[in-house]
């Protein structure tokens, strides 16, 4: 059995302490907030106040505990191979791919959504041939003249050599592991690629 990490409801008391600066104490669940599906079922346009509040347990004085149990069996981990398993790039043929959806061929460009970054707003422009990314650059950037963002402005963004795997991958709603600036870059790039159907 795997080891469980449990933070007890002593935490709810702590959080209620912080929140009581402003309002009556609100009890909170720990860990997963849980699904919001089903809350606010009055249909389109109804005010948010019709949603039922989250259900919780009241705070207790039980100190935090952890339960520790050794795992009985060990599952196999997935690992990478040291070399890429991606298939080699195909020819430069412009014939449509053998799928039911057709992809426009020829050289096309699009600019992604304007996204906020720390110093202002930016958007990313991408040029593709078919599904292959040819170039990526900052399409628009407003920075209030901040010197760090000049760096981004002049930065030469390397041509993406790999097949646009990430671009063809699923859409993301957020990015982890990036400072605020580069996350914005990635999201604008994704929106430009989505416009091109890549």
């Amino acid at each position: 059995m795997k080891r469980a990490i449990i933070f007890s409801s002593a935490t709810a008391a702590g959080l209620a302490g912080v929140l009581s600066f402003h309002t009556a104490p609100v009890s909170l669940t720990l860990g997963s907030v849980g699904s919001t599906a089903g809350a606010g079922t009055n249909g389109a346009g109804s005010p948010a106040t019709s949603s039922p509040p989250p259900t919780t347990t009241p705070p207790t004085t039980v100190p935090p505990t952890t339960t520790v149990a050794k795992k009985a069996t060990k599952s196999k981990k997935s690992t990478s191979s040291p070399t890429t398993t991606r298939p080699p790039s195909t020819t430069t043929s412009t014939a449509p791919p053998a799928t039911t959806t057709t992809v426009a061929t020829g050289i096309r460009s699009a600019t992604g959504e304007l996204v906020n970054y720390y110093f202002g707003v930016l958007s990313v422009s991408v040029t593709v041939t078919g599904k292959k990314i040819d170039s990526v650059k900052i399409g628009q950037l407003s920075d209030g003249g901040n010197s760090r963002s000049q760096q981004i402005d002049q930065m030469s963004i390397p041509i993406l050599e790999q097949e646009a795997v990430q671009a063809q991958g699923p859409q993301v709603q957020s990015v982890s592991g990036a400072s605020y600036t580069s996350a914005g870059f990635v999201m604008s790039l994704q929106s430009a690629l989505k416009k091109l159907g890549v």
């Binding site: 402003h22 907030v33 948010a48 509040p53 991958g169 592991g177 990635v186 994704q190």
Partner: protein, 254 residues
């Protein structure tokens, strides 16, 4: 969808709400304000950049823990759990200069802000605090959120996309250079290029991601043993490893 940005904790924290229904603007603004206020309150208590914050004063011995806001003791207790679970590879007490729970607090605060947003009752919501991401619900109503993980070797692209049901945190020194303290070597060396942990508690995921990037393979083994927490570790030689239930939605490509 509604978006809000709050400058706090030395970074910009973003809130995103997902719903097709029209929510009255005052209700949305109230929810954003409530979540933002919480972050500022946490910053006032925990910021080590503020010399008069309760945490700073306690570290200097000016106040006892029992006289400080209760959140400090609570966070320190949670950090102790993380120290033990990480085999000591995450250790706020080893930081030069005194105990520094910052690695836990950011995620803990982001998830607390998310709870405030969740009261609005939208189909889905995200809080992103400089890469520590907490989510609730679903963007579409059916599918889970999908979060991109930055490629540490090429930071304008993604290493992979992962399905996230509660929280995800990524750690690495590829942006800021060596800054993650290694409690066993006493310097700032890290074994992995980057490490990502998903699980129910964002503060804990943040702490474990830090431990994983600093300690590498031994920490991967520890995380495998934890219920509800999954991880991706990317080594400097471009090999990678995931725990069995890490929900990749795309190939890992580095």
């Amino acid at each position: 969808m509604r978006h809000h940005e709050e400058e706090v904790m030395g970074t910009i924290v973003t809130f995103d709400l997902f719903d097709d229904r029209g929510f009255h603007d005052p209700a949305v603004e109230d929810a954003f304000a409530s979540a933002a206020d919480f972050l500022h309150q946490v910053d006032e208590v925990f910021s080590l950049w503020k010399s008069e914050s309760p945490l700073s004063r306690w570290r200097r011995g000016e106040i006892d823990l029992i006289d400080a806001p209760g959140e400090i003791a609570e966070v320190l207790e949670r950090c102790r759990v993380a120290v033990e679970a990480s085999g000591g590879w995450f250790d706020p007490w080893s930081a030069p200069g005194g105990v520094d729970p910052t690695g836990y607090v950011k995620g803990w605060a982001a998830q607390g802000a998310l709870r405030r947003l969740a009261r609005l009752g939208t189909r889905g919501a995200i809080v992103n605090a400089a890469g520590d991401v907490a989510v609730t619900g679903s963007p579409s109503g059916t599918d889970p959120f999908q979060v991109g993980i930055v490629n540490p070797f090429h930071t304008s692209s993604l290493a992979c996309v992962v399905r996230v049901r509660d929280a995800i945190a990524t750690s690495g020194d590829y942006e800021r250079g060596p800054h993650l303290f290694n409690p066993f070597t006493g310097d700032f060396t890290t074994q992995y290029a980057s490490a990502t942990v998903c699980g129910p508690d964002l503060g804990f995921a943040d702490a474990m991601a830090t431990a994983l990037v600093v300690g590498g393979d031994p920490v991967m083994e520890l995380i495998e043993d934890l219920e509800g927490y999954e991880a991706l570790g990317i080594r400097r030689n471009r090999t990678w490893e995931i725990t069995p239930d890490f929900e990749v939605a795309s190939e890992v490509a580095l």
